[in-house]
Assembly symmetry: C2
Homo-oligomer: 328 residues x 2
């Protein structure tokens, strides 16, 4: 299999590359060659036995998409995007990168005859907009309330249409909020969901800007990589014309997160969480979905964690080289 | 009010122009100036007392949208589109006209500061895709199964996003199938819905290619113009972030149509309908929606006919200069 990853320098992209490099395969299919692109040159993976081409490229520049498709990769993972906050602040850039970039990729594929690659498209829960039912079902209407969500929903529609036409074989993955994100705190409104666990697990203080009863939908970085791996080789025939699905995950409140932290790392870790209400963050988060019925994705074979303690255990294992027990 | 109509040479566009020209107003607001554009030069209306500028322009050409917006029309009616069959046959043209053309218009508006026009966007039932519930509610998910429907749904999403941002004040109208279309038969798969009434009312034979139990969603050309007039001056605040609505209409089977024809024009008219089954047409029509719950549009003040006899009466009055009684 030839694998191309667009957005390979991001957190999920890097973890995917590391995992494929280590095993040399996705599920039971050998990966012979990887092409890794991002707006900065992605790291070439250590230990990968196949061919690897890693370079900086901007999908919104003329010719980039055609170059990416020239060697006809079997599987294309499209993770590149402007994130929600930036897409809202810079409308032109958001539409250019998130919509036009995606379309450039799809149209470059359409320009090839006798070629129908698997295209894995990173979508988002932001395609949904309040008001929400208690659990959002797979057939819930898409009413995004941000430009980012609008762009992702438009990309989903193109992915469906191009798949229906047989131009490509698309799978759209609506990622849960990824938790615990490794690394340093960032400015995303969702950053605290990881920060209130990651910082205490590392012996540092964390700020909690919202109430304990805020509920959201989560999965680990490891689960996120697993979705992509599954999407790369799954049978897409049962998906029919609707190629995009909300991924399974864990619904949890901030209180659930804190109790999972306590179970794993004790009261001293929990004591590092400082409550500093931030009405701006609370207002943004209030519009986010809380729980999903992901029957389609589950039937299609996608899996995630089933508890928040499990999500924390993944962090300890993957980022701190510990088992959950060793973390207590 | 300055009114700009894009797609003014089409059937609905012409009827809208005639109606505004005759009254000099929309609802109770005076129309001082009209700009009429289409890919062919639209007819200038007889009897309009205001200024009228009519010219040929292609919204997909650079500069056209900016030119259309230069005089800051208060209300912009965007009817221009490649129809379903052509958008399916010529994918590039469909995306270029239906998606890029719409986006060019919206972005030209965005380029103006302190300007937020009412934009009335012609959408379509094709944003919906089977399987359908018995009545499709306003919050039914959009799963288009054609490129045309995909493009219209993407336009709806942009209309919502640009409205949410305060760039424009959008109203998206999902038109029922318009019946009875005046003029000659056309090649649209839906053409027979009008043909089996129009031709017999004019003493000519008509072909019915589907079974009598085929059900669909209809309104008259007069109702279609009425939607646009209402959308031009309605209070959009109650619409919130969801600016697009299925319009009220009449659900009717082919058998209902035929019985309405019989009631208005007698058995001799019905005898002019020849059944010539066409599996290709039947297959296309089988994927179309049949009935809608249009509570949102009704609450917002949109109206249509309430029976098929009424739809036929509109044709007799508007196209044949008759009342329904005179047609029998």
């Amino acid at each position: 299999m030839r694998l191309t990853i667009i957005g390979a320098a991001g957190m999920i992209g890097r973890k995917l590359v590391e995992r494929v490099a280590a095993s040399g395969q996705i599920n039971d299919r050998a990966v012979d060659a990887m092409t890794l692109v991002d707006v900065v040159t992605p790291d070439s993976p250590a230990g990968f036995k196949g061919a690897c081409d890693a370079y900086a490229a901007d999908l919104t520049e003329t010719g980039t998409a055609a170059r990416l498709i020239a060697d006809r990769p079997d599987v294309i993972v499209h993770l590149a995007a402007i994130v929600s906050g930036e897409a809202e602040a810079d409308m032109e850039k958001g539409y250019r990168v998130n919509l036009d970039g995606t379309r450039a990729l799809l149209d470059a594929i359409a320009a090839h005859d006798d070629y129908c690659p698997r295209v894995i498209y990173a979508s988002s829960l932001a395609v949904f907009g309040a008001p929400f039912p208690v659990k959002i079902p797979d057939d819930y209407h898409l009413t995004p309330l941000t430009s980012y969500g609008t762009q992702k929903a438009m990309g989903e529609m193109m992915l469906n249409d191009y798949s229906r036409r047989g131009i490509l074989d698309g799978v759209g993955i609506r990622f849960p909020t990824i938790c615990i994100r490794p690394g340093k705190p960032n400015k995303a409104a969702s950053g605290f969901f990881s920060g209130i666990l990651r910082e205490p697990l590392n012996g540092q203080e964390a700020i909690l800007p919202v109430e304990d009863d805020v509920r959201h939908w989560f999965a680990s970085p490891r689960a996120a990589v697993g979705y992509i791996e599954h999407a790369a080789t799954m049978d897409t025939a049962p998906l029919g014309a609707q190629r995009c699905m909300t991924m399974p995950g864990v619904t949890a409140t901030v209180a659930d997160q804190i109790e999972a932290l306590r179970a794993v790392a004790g009261d001293s870790a929990v004591a590092l969480i400082k409550r500093v209400p931030d009405p701006a963050v609370a207002s943004i988060v209030a519009g986010w979905p809380r729980n999903f019925d992901t029957a389609r994705a589950i039937a299609a074979g996608f899996v995630a964690e089933t508890s928040f303690q499990e999500i924390i255990a993944v962090y300890l294992e993957d980022e701190m080289g510990q088992t959950a027990q060793a973390g207590t």
